[in-house]
Symmetry: C2
Subunit: 341 residues, 2 copies
């Protein structure tokens, strides 16, 4: 493992020149640069990021804090962020909170603070006020993705609008008994997403003069299984069976489709189903949905950080545009049977 010294020696220059030649900062004549590069390559030299960080105060590393790994949304954001960071020459160190209380504390108390990162990306975190303050305390750029972080710049889709769009799609097809499967109350503890989506659903109903029927709401936990159970509940009702269900996530929507099938209902003839996300399985199931683009969100988060980290290079304009979403109509939604006859 050669150090900068050997390279300097080999190239017949000082270490300072090597540093300049390799980093591109400061002027070096083309000729010497060549020699330095050649020597470095020859020796297989790579900078010690530690020494470099210590000298510059920058680590070229960003921390990503995430509540789960094995959920499509999180994995996708992470993937997008990782790509973007790599592209900028940054590493990504991962802090997964799913281990529970003790881990969680460790992350906030020790790890994030080790001066190891230049910035942090917090994905869909519901943090306690104390955790937020810890986060801000490190005094480094922080950006949130997909969750409301008080005091932190956050990237997320307009959940109310998205839900409203999904519901309107159903309404415009002629459905009047539109049920909703959304977050259960326990989850909502400071986590606005389910509430917002529910609000969007209700707003859409109200906009066309339909009452909001509490019997047409069922809570679930955002998993396929949860959606399955909630849907059975809704569909089992002999008197007031909905003709369409809007689920607050694709996974719950898929659970809904499976439940309908198990109950002998055809989708979409007997029941229309729409979700949110455009999960990787949505296409397979023919699920209509409102797509959001988590990988893109991860990438955007990185761009924002890079802007803050390197104010010189900033490309304004792209940063503040709202996150886009898109209605994707597949085969799980259609007009209600009654209207077709």
């Amino acid at each position: 493992m050669p150090g900068i010294n050997e390279v300097a020696l080999a190239a017949g220059v000082s270490t300072a020149t090597v540093s300049r030649a390799l980093s591109g900062k400061g002027h070096v004549s083309a000729a010497t640069r060549e020699r330095v590069l050649a020597a470095a390559m020859e020796l297989g030299y790579v900078v010690s990021s530690n020494a470099s960080s210590l000298a510059t105060g920058r680590t070229k590393n960003v921390g990503v804090v995430i509540p789960f790994l094995n959920r499509w949304f999180y994995g996708s954001v992470l993937e997008g962020a990782e790509q973007a960071l790599l592209g900028h020459g940054y590493d990504l160190t991962l802090y997964n909170l799913s281990g529970g209380g003790e881990n969680r504390r460790a992350v906030f108390e020790h790890f994030l603070l080790r001066k190891r990162v230049d910035a942090v990306i917090a994905i869909s975190l519901e943090l306690t006020p104390e955790e937020v303050s810890r986060l801000l305390e490190i005094d480094k750029p922080v950006v949130g993705v997909g969750g409301p972080l008080p005091g932190v710049r956050t990237l997320s889709i307009d959940d109310v609008e998205v839900a409203r769009l999904a519901t309107e799609h159903l309404l415009s097809l002629g459905h009047r008994k539109v049920a909703h499967i959304g977050g259960n109350v326990e989850m909502e503890h400071d986590f606005h997403l389910p509430t917002n989506r529910r609000a969007g659903y209700e707003a859409a109903l109200e906009a066309v003069g339909l009452p909001v029927d509490p019997a047409l709401f069922a809570p679930a936990d955002f998993t396929i299984e949860g959606g399955y159970r909630a849907a059975k509940q809704l569909l089992g009702n002999p008197r007031n069976r909905p003709t369409a269900i809007f689920a607050a996530s694709d996974e719950m929507a898929i659970g809904t489709m499976l439940a309908a099938r198990d109950m002998g209902l055809r989708v979409p003839q007997d029941l229309s189903v729409i979700g949110i996300d455009d999960h990787e399985l949505a296409e397979f199931f023919g699920l209509s949905t409102v797509a959001q683009f988590p990988a893109e969100q991860g990438r955007r988060a990185v761009e924002i950080l890079m802007d803050q980290l390197h104010p010189a290079t900033r490309e304004l304009g792209s940063v503040d545009t709202p996150l886009h979403f898109e209605l994707v109509v597949r085969s799980s939604t259609s007009r209600p049977e009654a209207e077709r006859r």
Copy 2:
């Protein structure tokens, strides 16, 4: 951001003593330790991992190289590794290869070499010989999980045995037409898992004197959708329809179950299905499977590294035991209908 100096000042000792007190290495009187700890806490001192790494040569950070994020197996291994590392006071920096060629090169050429990690965990990687040599070149402990890495210590289940067990389960129920959905040839490019599982399947058949019928094999890509398509192919055959299907992964097995349903076949009455993994959805679908424990594998990989990194603490014995797996019988397998009558 206080440095070690302010702590030393506050505690009325030298920085050397602070270092000793905080790291626990070297003797410090209980009294001074107290004072130092108090001062550190008071000031909210955290070591600079860079300075520390520079001085010690150790980073307390391990790199994890992974081919995908959004697959249950990978995510689970990663999660297990992350937890274990956190527990040992290590950070985890993530290198995801899914970006394709360019990223891949960048990871191997620049990132891994930056002297930023003390060790690396390679998850299910199929590396080119060149990549392997790059990996070994960094001259740090490397352990592989779930993939064959020539020259690298690797943790993985015995795929032949696992497949054989799954197939035997089907055979023991009385099935004689047992089909297999496994990796397609293109994938096998140096990736032994599909081949091994297929070999286990064939071995089980041969052990009971059954011929291996090529018409009872269908290739797929390890996704639900791939399994669905392969199963339709197998089940559509009017003359030689299998009564049981062994899929090389749970995702393909789930696709198989969905295909059966769509074709009007009941599982398990008309078709038994078994997979491998014990994927998070397996229980929901009532899928029989051979469970492997990826999170555990991730944890184990970390233990092995810790043993190598801190030879003092080594707890031998646990390290070389083979990875366990376990037949989990749910409702997707039963005797073939013909035998029940």
